[in-house]
Symmetry: C2
Subunit: 470 residues, 2 copies
């Protein structure tokens, strides 16, 4: 990137907010995904939409790639600047512009931290359900780019169900506004929904109008523990088949239980094959009735133990077990690869069986936890990036896992996105015509391939991308 461009960029944001020192470049060369790294040529911190637009005009004119990002917590290599160029960090654009209690909407800038936003909203007696595990550090903009899910997805849906409108900057610097404070809007193609989950490849999101809902009046949390993991999986199907949609319905297998307990000292029973974390919320009477019915179903499916939290503190303790899974697993070995193969919820038992069979076949350690009610499992491999032979076995295992998910009517990613990591497998899910249409959409928005290039679409199919950390 020549010094003239740097000069132009500094002119837009001020010297303090464009950086090209080694430390800034290295700290923005990777994200939450292990074993992927690539240096950008500069890092820029815009203050408002006008600056983002001005930056894009410069980059567009000089054909320089841009990767926009929040906290970089994604797990698909989605914000690694693999083609160099400029990394745009949205943290300065972190205002809650407005909470409209008449229309039940909030308008925010993309850099607001998810949890801060949720707490602000809850303080006003309202509710914003999407709660990705990374919410303490992730940004709403990043959640929108990846269409993040979370523990409440089963009942409440994911980020896409709560975005009513967007403001974004196109590759050439033009500003596009979609949707609004509107529950219904069919004026042309649904660009809002198309941009959600587009992983920064179509536009830079600069503002979002979010839907809020009334909070549930009551909530109850329980754990059900099984000596047989398939009993747990059958419980998941049976709850839904009995016309109950819990707020949360999560599973942890035995290896996950062990490491979580070692990490969080919760006194979990270490001899159980699986634990289900179940929450129901809503009207108090319904919550009581549903939890009673769910307990009955757990017993029918041979749950060895059921504990129902009697206080909010007890509930928090049960929830902590699930929320610490990733952190706890990450302590086991130097490298943690967390995936999110997803299947129809009726196939959970079969998928767990497949994952275990595949882990054994490739002689790798895979712990499984995840959003069982959504069919969204997180098979997680603990390995060591320095042991390339083992890493390749892990890669081969995940390849088999994606193949199994597709075979069971599932998908290669339920909430983490495609990025670099899943790009080689995208065709498995969407087929040749799907790739063709998606590439044409990318070309329609970004003909010079400037926005987050090298993501979503792979040159070759099949093999997971591994770049050695350099």
């Amino acid at each position: 990137m020549d010094s003239n461009v740097k000069h132009l960029l500094r002119g837009i944001v001020g010297d303090a907010y464009f950086k090209d020192d080694a430390q800034s470049l290295v700290t923005h060369s990777y994200d939450g995904t292990p074993m992927l790294q690539s240096l950008p040529d500069g890092v820029i911190y815009p203050r408002n939409t006008a600056e983002v637009s001005a930056i894009m005009k410069v980059l567009h004119e000089h054909r320089i790639p841009l990767v926009s990002r929040g906290s970089g917590t994604n797990l698909c290599g989605g914000t690694v600047p693999v083609h160099g160029g400029v990394v745009m960090v949205m943290h300065r654009m972190n205002a809650i512009v407005e909470v409209d209690t008449q229309n039940l909407t909030a308008t925010v800038q993309p850099g607001i931290i998810t949890k801060q936003f949720i707490e602000h909203i809850e303080g006003l007696g309202l509710f914003y359900p999407p709660d990705p595990s990374s919410m303490a550090i992730s940004t709403i903009g990043g959640n929108i780019a990846e269409c993040s899910g979370g523990l409440r997805g089963l009942k409440y849906g994911t980020t896409k169900d709560y975005v009513l409108g967007l403001e974004c900057v196109l590759a050439d610097g033009q500003i596009l506004r979609t949707g609004g404070k509107l529950m219904k809007d069919v004026a042309g193609y649904d660009l809002t929904k198309l941009l959600i989950g587009s992983e920064g490849t179509l536009a830079v999101i600069t503002e979002a109008t979010l839907k809020l809902i009334p909070p549930p009046k009551a909530k109850k949390t329980m754990l059900a523990m099984y000596t047989d993991i398939y009993g747990a999986a059958r419980t998941v199907s049976s709850i839904i088949e009995n016309r109950i949609i819990p707020a949360t319905l999560e599973i942890m297998d035995n290896p996950t239980i062990r490491v979580v307990d070692d990490f969080a000292k919760l006194g979990l029973p270490l001899d159980m094959a699986a634990i289900l974390l179940i929450e129901q919320d809503g009207e108090p009477e319904m919550v009581e009735r549903d939890i009673a019915k769910i307990s009955g179903i757990c017993r029918e499916e041979q749950a060895a133990r059921i504990s129902i939290a009697e206080t909010p503190e007890e509930a928090l303790k049960l929830l902590t077990a699930r929320r610490s899974a990733f952190t706890a697993l990450a302590r086991l070995r130097p490298t943690t690869i967390l995936e999110d193969a997803t299947v129809p919820r009726s196939k959970i038992a079969e998928m767990v069986l497949e994952i275990n069979r595949i882990a054994e076949k490739h002689n790798v350690q895979i712990c499984t936890f995840g959003h069982a009610g959504d069919g969204n499992l997180h098979p997680t491999a603990t390995t060591d990036a320095r042991d390339l032979e083992e890493v390749h076995r892990v890669e081969a295992a995940f390849e088999d896992i994606f193949e199994a998910a597709i075979r069971l009517g599932g998908t290669i990613t339920g909430e983490h996105g495609v990025g670099m990591v899943k790009a080689p497998y995208l065709e498995w899910k969407v087929g040749g015509p799907g790739i063709q249409v998606m590439e044409a959409i990318k070309e329609a928005f970004d003909p010079h391939n400037l926005l987050n290039p090298g993501k979503m679409f792979a040159k070759e199919s099949r093999r997971r991308v591994v770049i050695e950390r350099g």
Copy 2:
């Protein structure tokens, strides 16, 4: 269209299912929209996806336009074959392929009648909420193409919230499959949501996987009547602001009340300025509590009369009042133009005021009813297509209404679609960059502009399209 092409098409579907006699052409030259008509060159009735694909390959090779349609109940001129070509009627593809009670999904062909599908699903103890007013004749495929709403949209969302996956045929005959029986899927761009509401301009939908939910256990229906329409509008805002989301929250103004009562003989009070139809469903205790709270809010806002249905028969009678609005209004004068300008729900009172002011300014009769809880109003003009001078006044009034809706943060269409009728106004809502991006998406899917050409994008901005019936 030359006889060779006709021969090829007959070869695909059989002689009985390709028609080019005058009667078939005339009956497929218009849809539910008044004052628009254009003859196709042929009408074809495919039996399955393979036939649709084969048809598209022939049409693609010969660059012949295609308009796919269900029952043609749309109100935006969405299925008028304005560039000629072939009209593809999906009624033979009307199977309910599968209802999966474990995953709570249904897989259907596009030609199934909405109400038949809903009744089938309800018979299985499940619930499919989207209920457009035309559901007794509309098809699920048409609902998907237009992203249809309905009376239950406020609480349950619209068609787009219930489509999990699609099979469709692209302009060149390739078959594309999106999504699946998956609550979460972020493998690439969300083509499912992009296709919903794309009005047949991007692909021909040949199968859909729909999300079902557990039915509400109880339901209660009430009417609140006002001598002041703004009291009714304020009630709408106040209910939502009090954190209550009713299943249905509909408004009818005085002219609508009069014609509905004359039509359906319901004994409605003819001296009221507005009636709200309110339904709540869910857990029995919650329904009781919400209806009590809503009644309190209605009284605070000076409702002159409140009636709560005590039996399902009484509820049906109240619901019939709202459901017959369009039919009743259509009896007033030869031509009925029903629009759907939509505003943030807090702007309902202001918008009703605007509509009345505009009707007076242009000296036209506009009755207003609609989904008040969504901010989705249906200002409906009764006129006579033969009186061109009056029709032009009606057009001018609607132009002012769209302008007012945009000014209030709303949109030109909440659930009817753009089609031909709103195409000149699309830019008002989405701006220059929005039009540019949407046209690029259209080009990406359909470079030869074969799928429903002449819709959504207007040559000139501003004036509503009026084609005299020829």
